[in-house]
Amino acid sequence: MAFRARHLLGIEHLAPEEIRTVLDLADRYVDLNRRTVKRTDALAGMTQINMFFENSTRTQSSFELAGKRLGADVMNMSMQTSSVKKGETLIDTALTLNAMHPDLLVVRHQNSGAVDLLAQKVNCAVINAGDGKHEHPTQALLDALTIRRAKGRIQRLTVAICGDVAHSRVARSNLILLGKMENRVRLVGPPTLMPAGIGEFGVDVCDDMRAGLEGADVVMMLRLQKERMDGGFIPSEREYFHRYGLDAEKLAYAKPDAIVMHPGPMNRGVEIDGTIADDINRSVIQEQVEMGVAVRMAVMDLLAQNLRAERGRALVEGSYV
């Protein structure tokens, strides 16, 4: 079995072989998603609950669509308005949901490690849809799929990840995945937005964007949160755009066929120039969204297979009722 995981909590726990398995299956789902009839029954009869403790439109709808196309019953729980506000702890919420026998739980939470904690308390498959500043594994997988389809491979590439690395779970998952697949990663951004101890990660760190983009195959931009713009981490929006915003002039330092990525939502004119984002020859931002649905279908399909196998084994042994 090439994909063994019970949960998808982070890229950290995946072997390169497992990553390849996800991407291969996702490729097939890309084809399916481009057909008029997009439905399969991989998750037929299964229940998927999306629990988003933090606001999200695109990730949540991507997971919802992925589940529906696989034939699952999908329920969205908006946690901002739920019992959490009434003082219920995360674990109690998890146990309550667990009692409803979901098969897949998709969780986003504002605290690093919260999804790990929750996964210990439930007996379904848990997918981390982003926890604090820790990991966002499906984003890294969809980015890898996008890169592999654009570049024909996901090895021996130079990838520049630019912007607010310190607060970004997307950056963390991506640099772990890219490292596992033997790529060269450069982190580009002001030192105030670089995590401590980053020198020990086996990546190159550049505070000069032009040097950071030099010869890159992939330029991955990160979103800069509005609340970090005013004087706290960087002096101002305009100084940030001047030094770290991706425009044609800076992009010229990358390879001529370098692709530009962004996990969205974009701040045009802050971290990325609008004309770059819209340049169909360079930008793969729309493809990323498309790959997102396919990758999430692949992950849920694989986890469901493992869940069935586990329950099948338990049934044979007589312990599962």
Binding site: E12, T89, L90, I91, H109, N111, S112, G113, A114, D116, L117, D131, G132, K133, H134, E135, A166, R169, R172, P195, A196, G197, I198, E200, F201
Partner: protein
């Protein structure tokens, strides 16, 4: 009542020596030490080569009274202490409300009257530990406070501290500080670095401890107050401490046993029982601290016993409560340093018993004729696997759950009376 403890491995932290011999307890005091035979009528206890050392003085124990009796009461703390070889608890004032008036101090003193072990209280340095106005240091000393501290709360206003230190100095009061730069450490859950970044947890630079220490030492220099750092846990802070000592300032320092035996990577997959204040440090820092204890630059090893209930720990790491219980695990954890060859047993008990007693002006902590017969009898080799639910503390938040440890207390004596006996469970 005379007790004769024979055939013991006697650990003398004053002489930094260990010898095999016998010890006579009479009228609550150590009456004689040496190769002599049992006095007539004495009850004989055969130690069979086990270690006999001055009982541990655990400096900085949080007890949940008043305010949080469900996490630890005086009674449960007393039993845990006796079972852990701790013969004197030095309690912290970070209760709810804080121990910041003579009335509250009298209340806890009364509540703690029937403990199997001794207990002394520290009082708050500022009212409500809020760092604005000093407490009635004089009255609190009269009521029995042995030292003054705001626990982990750092007073940002140096002027307030300057006045409190100056006033404390005039009364000869000992102040205990928590060296930490509050701005840098705000919101931090772990020490910054590769581990914090990998886990996506907010970190504090280890430099924040040195910055806090430097400021506090400058105030000590200005005022001449007697001052003790509750915990020094980073290598970068040590030169400042050494300089202060050489300059003749009346300064001592402690460290929790957790920071001597665990490092930041022990947090692993967000294990909240390893969330401490200050957070666990790098392995380099841990090794430097062990060396500093061996060199005598760090004077005191304590448990920083901080009980927390399951609910406050079963939360995402950032939101979980900080702190660990330690009264019962202090000795076996500290013995890891002996088993690794880093410290001799007399060196260990210098930091566990002798130094805290000296610093607090207590007559305990010595294995000498005439000293109070507060003793711990233990087998340093006995192996066991720690089960947190077997702890006597009400709260079970120990980072050593399931850990293999070596060293068990056989018996604990306070003022010559056996208050714990492993064969009976409790005395």
């Amino acid at each position: 009542m005379t007790l004769f403890l024979q055939n013991a491995r006697l650990i003398d932290p004053e002489a930094l020596s260990e010898t095999t011999g016998n010890l006579v307890i009479d009228a609550g005091q150590i009456a004689a030490i040496g190769p002599m035979s049992a006095p007539a009528g004495a009850e004989v206890i055969d130690c069979a080569g086990a270690c006999l050392a001055p009982g541990i003085i655990d400096w900085g124990v949080k007890i949940g009274e008043p305010g949080e009796r469900h996490v630890e009461s005086f009674r449960s703390a007393g039993m845990a202490a006796a079972a852990g070889g701790v013969t004197t608890i030095i309690a912290r004032p970070d209760t709810a409300p804080a121990i910041d008036t003579p009335e509250v101090l009298e209340f806890v003193t009364r509540r703690a009257a029937d403990l199997p072990v001794r207990i002394r209280h520290m009082a708050a340095l500022t009212k409500g530990r809020a760092g604005r106005e000093m407490t009635e240091i004089g009255f609190l000393m009269d009521a029995g406070a042995v030292a003054f501290t705001d626990a982990e709360h750092v007073t940002e206003d140096a002027k307030v501290l300057n006045r409190a230190f100056t006033y404390a100095r005039s009364l000869g009061a000992l102040v205990v500080g928590h060296p930490q730069e509050p701005g840098l450490s705000k919101g931090a859950a772990v020490t910054s670095g590769k581990f914090a970044s990998l886990r996506g947890l907010p970190g504090v630079s280890p430099m924040a401890e040195r910055m806090g220490l430097e400021r506090d030492l400058a105030l000590v220099e200005m005022t001449g107050v007697a001052w003790h750092a509750d915990q020094i846990t980073t290598a970068r802070a040590l030169p400042a401490l050494e300089r202060a000592r050489k300059a003749g300032l009346d300064v001592t320092a402690g460290i929790s046993v957790h920071h001597l035996t665990l490092n930041e990577f022990d947090v692993g997959e967000y294990r909240t029982f390893f969330k401490l204040t200050p957070p666990l440090r790098s392995e380099e820092d841990r090794l430097a601290m062990v060396q500093a204890v061996a060199d005598g630059l760090i004077d005191v090893i304590c448990s920083q016993h901080t009980p927390a209930d399951e609910e406050s720990k079963r939360l995402p790491f950032e939101e979980a409560a900080s702190g660990a219980v330690g009264l019962e695990t202090l000795l076996p954890a500290a013995l890891r340093l002996y088993h690794s060859g880093a410290l001799s047993l007399p060196q260990l008990f210098r930091a566990l018993s002798l130094n805290p007693a000296r610093r607090l002006g207590l007559p305990q902590g010595r294995l000498a004729e005439g000293a109070p017969a507060d003793l711990v009898l233990f087998d340093p080799e006995a192996p066991f696997v720690l089960d947190r639910f077997a702890l006597r503390s009400k709260a079970k938040n120990t980072p050593f759950d399931g850990a293999r440890m070596q060293g068990r207390v056989r018996a604990t004596f306070v003022a010559g009376r056996k208050v714990y006996d492993a064969t009976e469970g409790r005395a």
